[in-house]
């Protein structure tokens, strides 16, 4: 009886150890892209019919959120002549993949329908054009706020993605 109990405890402990070690291995952060500056290009709507105000709100909100949590990252707008001379510049290209306009009235009356959602494909390239990273980021507004609030949600998530994946080179090199 004692033998079975001790074996059970032993197997359980070894299983627990294996699981935790696997989890820790997965949580190891991937190496970050070295960048000291980022240039944000204007949002491309591609084949999606996106209202002009959404396009501008996405661009401006993204710049604002990046500026809020930039750390040592220098932020440039599209067409900024100073970006050409910037060291370790990463260019952020964004293309809208999905867009559902939703309705603020429906949201507030029903509380479950009428959500506005937007999915944007973000790709980071170097100055030479080589692809460094690409991700899809979505923005939603489910209950409170106007439809444009989805752009704010997207911008916050995109800025967080930038913070997680980009880091300034050590000693400013």
């Amino acid at each position: 009886m004692k033998f079975i109990l001790s074996r059970t405890i032993l197997y359980s402990l070894s299983a627990l150890f294996l699981t935790t070690s696997c989890l820790f291995a997965q949580n190891n952060p991937p190496s970050k892209i070295k960048a000291s500056s980022i240039q944000v290009e204007m949002i491309q709507s591609g084949e999606i019919e996106l209202p002009a105000e959404f396009k501008i709100a996405l661009y401006e909100n993204l710049l604002r959120q990046l500026d809020k949590q930039k750390g040592s990252l220098q932020i440039y707008r599209e067409g900024d002549p100073n970006a050409a001379a910037a060291a370790d510049l990463v260019i952020l290209h964004t293309t809208v993949r999905k867009f559902k306009a939703g309705s603020e009235r429906t949201r507030q009356v029903t509380t479950f329908a009428g959500a506005t959602s937007i999915t944007v494909h973000c790709s980071f390239t170097g100055q030479d054009g080589n692809l460094l990273l690409e991700r899809d980021v979505n923005g939603k507004v489910r209950f409170f706020g106007g439809n444009l609030r989805a752009t704010h949600d997207f911008a916050k998530k995109a800025a967080q993605m930038v913070r997680e994946n980009l880091s300034a080179p050590a000693n400013g090199q």
Binding site: E49, A52, E53, I56, Y59, E60, E78, E104, Q108, V109
Partner: protein, 182 residues
């Protein structure tokens, strides 16, 4: 006697001057730029979001006056200007938020009432080439006039896909009506 002889012509001169001043103002009035009440949503440098002010088009610039400050955009730098339509809660802000707690769905009932508004979206480049975007909202039916004023003074406007289709659809209809006339 002398005083009276001086005072009467002086009084008459003053009277005429008084009559002329409003006339002069009336003549100046058409030259004043049309000002439109607007709310700045996002984009203008140094202007808070949701700042209320007045928009006007004059001297090749789009002026936004809010409080004691103002902000300008050179019309020649505008790459695209789009007038759109939207709506907002008729009962908004604090009352709207507090009403959400009202019993029997009173707040939701208030959400049914909405006010139509226009949006004016502007995309422009600084002299260096840096790209900016601005969004304003204003009373319904005013954004189109403002857009026309901007385009008349040199702003560019790119047709959206929807507008392109409208013009495409309109063209065959026009041709058909011309054929019918003939």
């Amino acid at each position: 006697m002398k005083l009276r002889s001086v005072a009467i012509p002086f009084g008459i001169a003053l009277l005429f001057a008084g009559l002329r001043i409003p006339e002069g103002k009336a003549q100046e009035a058409p030259h004043l730029a049309k000002q439109i009440q607007a709310v700045h949503l996002i984009g203008l440098q140094g202007v808070k979001d949701n700042a209320k002010g007045k928009l006007s088009v004059e001297d090749g610039k789009l002026h936004f006056v809010y409080g004691k400050a103002s902000s300008d955009i050179s019309i020649n730098s505008i790459q695209d200007v789009v007038a759109g339509a939207d709506s907002k809660k008729a009962v908004g802000k604090t009352v709207g938020t507090v009403s959400m707690a009202a019993p029997y769905g009173g707040g939701r009932f208030l959400s049914l009432f909405r006010k139509k508004i226009d949006t004016l979206t502007i995309q422009y480049r600084e002299t260096g080439g840096t790209l900016h975007g601005v969004i304003f909202t204003m009373q319904s039916g005013t954004a189109d006039d403002l857009k026309k004023d901007l385009v008349a003074q040199g702003a560019h406007s790119v047709l959206t896909e929807g507008q392109k289709e409208e013009t495409k659809n309109a063209a065959p209809n026009n041709k058909a009506s011309e054929d019918q006339k003939q």
